[in-house]
């Protein structure tokens, strides 16, 4: 049998269990092996379906090695790994083994996920929610959760399915999606919205202290100065304390 032509036979309930388990991927995150045990925990229902006895032990041993990727990228990746395992179990001669595939793809997928979810989507959803929060609306957490979790959950559910049904060709799908470019767009949107939010907050503060709004433009050089300090490695905690002290002085003088 040729690789890639093997029939996908895993029943739906096994995939559903893998999906459910994927939410606990990082329960045993450790410095040494990171998500190693977690990945095996997600794969276990599929491995139990595919192998018995000695073969099952062998499969478990194979997969209990270093593993680390972005938690939301793990379902598509582990879906594809499952497909490869299934082909191997059916005796297809694969160009690349499931474990090799895992090792190759996890680091780039981690990079894509970090950029897309932690760097792009999360700050974007948070900035939008912050507009609601500073207006005093309790909708803020709801807005954040919906904006963030719709793509998140879609990625997990559709990702696991796509990974499983496409196997090795998951890589092509991911290339086509151009996720890093989407991440960049999200970051740009975050910066623009953050500019608006800061302007709003500055005006509110100036109004409260009864100062002309034109002074708000001073905000900008201050950000540049603080950004320079942050790049030099000064921690946020120190920065906030220093800024508070300076602002207090300013408040006392004015």
């Amino acid at each position: 049998m040729k690789a890639g032509t093997a029939r996908r036979k895993l029943p739906f309930r096994v995939l559903a269990r893998m999906l459910g388990r994927s939410f606990f991927l990082q329960a045993s995150w450790s410095f040494e092996r990171m998500q190693s045990l977690g990945a095996l925990y997600v794969l276990a229902p599929a491995l139990r379906f595919l192998y018995r006895g000695q073969d099952l032990e062998e499969a478990f041993r194979r997969h209990l090695v270093y593993f680390n990727t972005h938690p939301y990228m793990a379902p598509p990746l582990l879906g594809a790994v499952t497909a490869l395992e299934e082909e191997q179990a059916q005796g297809a001669d694969c160009a690349i083994s499931a474990v090799e595939f895992r090792d190759m793809v996890m680091a780039p997928l981690a990079a894509i996920g970090d950029a897309l979810f932690w760097g792009g989507l999360r700050p974007l959803a948070a900035v939008i929610a912050l507009f609601f929060a500073f207006k005093g609306s309790l909708l803020a957490p709801l807005v954040f959760l919906v904006l963030f979790n719709l793509p998140h959950l879609w990625f997990r559910c559709a990702g696991l399915w796509r990974g499983y049904s496409r196997g090795l060709r998951l890589v092509e799908t991911l290339q086509r999606l151009r996720l890093p470019d989407w991440a960049l767009r999200a970051k740009e949107a975050t910066v623009v919205l953050l500019g608006g939010l800061c302007a709003y907050l500055t005006l509110v503060c100036l109004k409260q202290e009864e100062i002309a709004a034109g002074w708000g433009l001073l905000f900008f050089p201050l950000v540049v100065l603080l950004g320079w300090l942050a790049r030099k490695g000064v921690s946020n905690l120190l920065l906030i304390l220093a800024t508070l002290a300076v602002l207090l002085l300013a408040g006392l003088i004015v």
Binding site: S28, W29, M34, F144, F148, G195, C198, V204, G216, I240
Partner: protein, 230 residues
């Protein structure tokens, strides 16, 4: 009354702390959600919302990249909310000043509390080794149990961090608050500005958008002028 606030806060800290890494990751652990949720549990969601918003803004740009562990903004938001609500009861006061004080007290303590998270993650190494021994011995059924035991470590770490912020934090709020609160009266507008300043500065410094400074400046000035004129 105050005791039940601390207790409910602990419950929130534990559950939200689990969402942070170990289970779910629905981002309930983000300050902008964790704050109001905790506030709702202890009877004042609006205070929680304000605490959460400040903490969120401050750490907007901090990403968990690779093996680096970012500051535990979840417990800072949860404990900050608890401190603010408890202090509100104690001083029979409300307003921004209490919230600012609570967040500022919670931040450095949260930094110390990170050792618990590190501890949990090193403890988990042992689980992986035990799982290896299990698989070698053919005990494949034990795997799930081993893995989920990590949840206990993470839950304990979350609770540990929470207690480490709330207990000394409460003492500071009670003793420093007596003197600081009257002295700072009327300054909260100024102090509030520090959060967008520092949060923006770190975000712009760490984001890989080539024109981030220009984009920010353009949008900031436009909105400022628009709001001013309208």
């Amino acid at each position: 009354m105050t005791l039940s606030v601390f207790f409910m806060g602990g419950l929130a800290g534990l559950l939200l702390g689990l969402d942070r890494t170990a289970a779910g990751q629905f981002m309930l652990a983000r300050p902008v959600v964790a704050g109001p949720l905790t506030g709702w549990l202890v009877g004042d969601p609006l205070v929680g919302l304000q605490v959460g918003a400040l903490v969120e803004l401050l750490w907007l740009g901090r990403l968990p990249v690779g093996a680096a562990i970012p500051p535990d903004d979840t417990q800072v938001a949860v404990a900050g909310t608890v401190l603010a609500v408890a202090a509100g009861h104690y001083y029979a006061l409300e307003g921004m000043l209490l919230i600012l004080l609570s967040v500022l007290v919670a931040m450095p303590l949260g930094k110390i509390g990170q050792i618990f998270d590190r501890l949990a993650r090193s403890r988990n190494s042992r689980l992986v080794r035990q799982a290896e021994a299990d698989v070698t011995a053919g005990r494949t059924a034990a795997l799930e149990r081993r893995h989920l035991r990590g949840l206990i470590h993470f839950a304990a770490a979350a609770l540990g961090t929470y207690v480490l912020i709330v207990v000394p934090g409460w003492l500071v709020v009670r003793f420093a608050g007596e003197r600081l609160l009257p002295a700072l009266d009327g300054m909260d507008g100024w102090l509030l500005l520090a959060f967008p300043l520092v949060g923006t500065a770190t975000l712009l410094g760490t984001i890989n958008v080539s024109r981030s400074l220009t984009l920010f400046a353009a949008s900031f000035t436009t909105v400022l002028l628009l709001l001013w004129l309208l």
